[in-house]
């Protein structure tokens, strides 16, 4: 489905992505995890064909910057930006027109709006939406054209618990119906049961990757794996016997 070969993205002297090689098979859910500033969002934007980079990225054998590839890709950015003078339903209609969807899009749009509790707010302007509602709309817009391959950049940030539950259900449904997902996150426990493989990024590089089945076999959680690989976090909680309820948390950076 997705093949990334030797992708490097630089900003001056800073290499935001350094020689990235990733292959994600069809019908799988891949996680891209890493600390802040690891280069996850940059990589997603490179995959989406938004940035200039060196290397090759292909989706289903198509160059990622081609129009054909864009038709089968969906993208939920980390920070949603809605048109302030378009309503929720107009955002969806614009997307339907941009992707040249057939008339059934209206039904799909209604369904998405209901799931994310936006159906009674469909006439609200983008400029009046809260950050959470913008994020929900952003997800609806990405899912409306029913892309085969969807990129989620920190999709759970800003969502309320109900929307998080809905999105997790959607992840599951998409995965079961054969879609491929690449979810970038630095919150490790939010997608625990959903993923098939994980790529850990640090300082612009993919420092490790692994399959869920392998980790399960070793009896390790995603969090264990992450800290094993990045190895830069040691937690030591010391109880002070003299102060009953006080605890001191000590962290060290290597």
């Amino acid at each position: 489905m997705l093949k990334i070969s030797q992708v490097t993205k630089s900003y001056g002297d800073l290499k935001a992505n350094d020689n990235i090689n990733i292959e994600i098979p069809e019908k799988s859910v891949a996680l891209l995890v890493g600390p802040n500033g690891a280069g996850k969002s940059t990589l997603l934007k490179c995959i989406m064909g938004l940035l200039r980079y060196s290397g090759e990225i292909e989706i289903n054998g198509l160059k990622n910057k081609s129009l054909e590839a864009k038709k089968i890709m969906g993208y939920v950015p980390e920070i949603p930006h809605m048109y302030p003078l378009l309503t929720i339903s107009e955002h969806l209609e614009f997307t339907a027109r941009a992707y040249r969807l057939d008339e059934t899009w209206r039904e799909k749009a209604d369904n998405l709006l209901r799931r994310f509790e936006l159906d009674d707010k469909r006439n609200k302007l983008g400029g009046t939406l809260s950050k959470g509602m913008q994020q929900k709309l952003s997800i609806c817009v990405a899912l409306l054209p029913e892309p085969n391959f969807i990129l989620f950049d920190e999709p759970l940030i800003g969502l309320d618990p109900y929307a998080i539950k809905q999105l997790k259900d959607i992840f599951r449904e998409l995965s079961e119906s054969g879609h491929s997902l690449l979810i970038s996150t630095h919150i490790l426990d939010t997608v625990d049961e959903l993923w098939d493989q994980v790529y850990i990024m640090n300082h612009g590089k993919v420092v490790a990757n692994g399959k869920k089945s392998e980790l399960d076999r070793l009896g390790k959680t995603l969090e264990d794996f992450f800290f094993d690989v990045t190895g830069n976090y040691k937690s030591d909680i010391k109880s002070d016997p003299d102060l009953n309820s006080n605890t001191e948390i000590v962290t060290e950076q290597d």
Binding site: L14, S41, L67, K70, L86, A98, Y99
Partner: protein, 530 residues
């Protein structure tokens, strides 16, 4: 294309729908609509018989053609130059999410962005409507006037297409930008040189100028030259070169659009850096830092003064640091404008038999300052959250936020006042008095700014700017009126009342300045309105 049209149409419809909910916007729309209606109510005016001969002459038509050519030449340079710049904001943040990720050709998105700008250009050319009565006075028929409007619109459209083309070819390599810039600057310079050549060759200036304006060489200039060719065709009668210009002007934009459409362009990063006011992700921060580094690297400022601040006055030193980083030279646009305008006035009005009234120069300088004072350090400080969170005395914080603006205004005035005083032979004591009086006027404008900020929580919308202008004008009236009246009494009657009035005007300004300071204090203590 259908999606772009939908996006534009819905945005416009919703904008109008919103007027019901936003009275401030409705009022500003009504205000502008009223202003525009004045255009159509302007009477044609009576034809002046003495001028009628000139009006009917071919020379007057050449003048019309030349004036439009000149304006279009300047527009050419500005619009083409915008195509070479990375900092031109033609996209909004939602465009980067919705347009760049959708299956649109990058060229279509670029054209959409550039044509979006067309609206602004066309709106700004409304001033042309004001010329309708004058064009009628020059005995142009309706067809000729309509041709002028069509040619104007065509040129603006062409300029935006060529700007998109320049952007598309130059985004990859800086060397193309340099070539384009050389072409942009060479065209007007060559036109000027050609004009000088004709004037020097001819027996007198008027003949030389006429020959220059009649020269078919000007038709070679893309955009402005072709427009002149079509205008000459409409105003002066049939000529084959005019027809050629018309054909070129129709086909070249089509060819350019086709070329842009076929180009493989990729400019999301530029679009992001244009619109990203507050960078969020690390890579956006890196882009912003790089841009800032480049901007700061242009000037070497060793001492910015930031290390001298303490407590409330850190606001002043922070502003000083930012100002010196971006504009380290004392000589700026306002200083030069004041020097040129007041200096020019002093030279023109120099007459040994009459005494030039220094108040005239002061009045003009105040008018110039009135319009240049809106890039205020106070408003910038008020928009900064640190202004609220910084511990300290609120009154001192407000005062320190406006001090730099007042000092800069006073600095801007010194060369102009000095030149006028020396050239016109005024008393040197007028220099500090003039600067002090101007400084007091700026304090009043500062008060109006603070008050407007207190009302709106920003000074960005058209309506808030209108309120700011009105308040500034009203606040300036008592002080400036008293000072001017005082000067009038002194010059004409030499009475002591005049001095008292000037002092009263100064005090009135200080009083209004204090009102601003206390309004600002209250605003600070209540917290931001926005």
């Amino acid at each position: 294309m259908q999606a772009f049209v939908y996006l534009k149409v819905r945005t416009i419809i919703n904008w109008f729908k919103q007027l019901k909910e936003k009275p401030s916007r409705l009022i500003s729309v009504l205000f502008y609509a009223g202003l525009l209606s004045v255009v159509f109510l302007i009477p044609r005016g009576d034809d002046l018989p003495a001028e009628s001969k000139f009006m009917q002459s071919d020379f007057s038509r050449y003048v019309i053609s030349a004036v439009f050519f000149g304006i279009l030449l300047i527009l050419n340079a500005f619009t083409w130059h915008s195509g070479t710049k990375r900092g031109v904001s033609i996209f909004a943040l939602p465009d980067t999410q919705f347009l760049f990720t959708a299956p649109f050709r990058p060229a279509s998105i670029l054209l959409y962005g550039m044509l979006n700008q067309l609206k602004t250009s066309l709106l700004s050319s409304i001033f042309l409507l004001y010329q309708i009565p004058n064009l009628h006075k020059l005995l142009l028929n309706s067809g000729q006037i309509a041709t002028i409007f069509v040619v104007w619109t065509m040129t603006i459209f062409f300029n935006h297409i060529i700007s998109a083309f320049i952007y598309a070819i130059s985004y990859k390599a800086d060397k193309y930008v340099k070539i384009v810039e050389i072409v942009i600057y060479t065209i007007p310079i060559l036109s000027l040189l050609l004009g000088f050549f004709f004037i020097i060759k001819a027996s007198d200036v008027l003949t030389g100028l006429t020959q220059f304006l009649q020269s078919k060489l000007l038709y070679l200039i893309p955009g402005a030259g072709w427009a002149k060719g079509i205008l000459d065709l409409a105003l002066l009668g049939f000529n084959w070169l005019g027809i050629v210009c018309l054909v070129i002007f129709i086909f070249v934009p089509i060819a350019l659009m086709r070329a842009i459409y076929k180009m493989d362009i990729d400019y999301y990063e530029d679009a992001m850096s244009m619109v990203q006011a507050a960078p969020n992700s690390p890579e956006q921060q890196e882009i912003a830092k790089e841009a800032q580094r480049k901007a700061y690297a242009k000037f070497k400022v060793k001492e910015t003064g930031i290390n001298k601040g303490f407590g409330e006055n850190t606001i002043f030193y922070k502003q000083l640091c930012e100002y010196r980083r971006t504009r380290p030279r004392i000589v700026g646009f306002t200083m030069l404008t004041l020097l040129l305008v007041l200096g020019g006035m002093a030279v023109v009005l120099k007459n040994p038999e009459e005494t030039n009234d220094p108040l005239l120069f002061w009045g003009i300088s105040v008018i110039i300052l009135f319009f240049s004072a809106f890039n205020s350090t106070t408003i910038k400080a008020f928009a900064d959250d640190q202004f609220f969170t910084l511990p300290g005395n609120s009154i001192l914080k407000v005062i320190y936020s406006g001090v730099l603006g007042i000092i800069l205004v006073m600095l801007d005035l010194i060369p102009a006042y000095l030149f006028v005083i020396i050239y016109s032979g005024f008393n040197l004591l007028l220099l500090p008095i003039g600067i002090l009086l101007s400084g007091s006027i700026f304090m009043v404008i500062n008060s109006a700014q603070i008050l407007t900020y207190r009302i709106f929580g920003e000074v960005k919308s058209a309506f808030s700017v209108m309120v700011l202008l009105t308040l500034s004008f009203v606040f300036c009236l008592p002080g400036a009126g008293m000072i001017l009246a005082g000067g009038y009494f002194i010059v004409l009657h030499g009475t002591y009342w005049g001095y008292l009035l000037i002092a009263g005007g100064f005090l009135a300004n200080c009083l209004l300045g204090l009102i601003g300071i206390f309004t600002g204090k209250k605003y600070l203590e209540e917290g931001p309105t926005r």
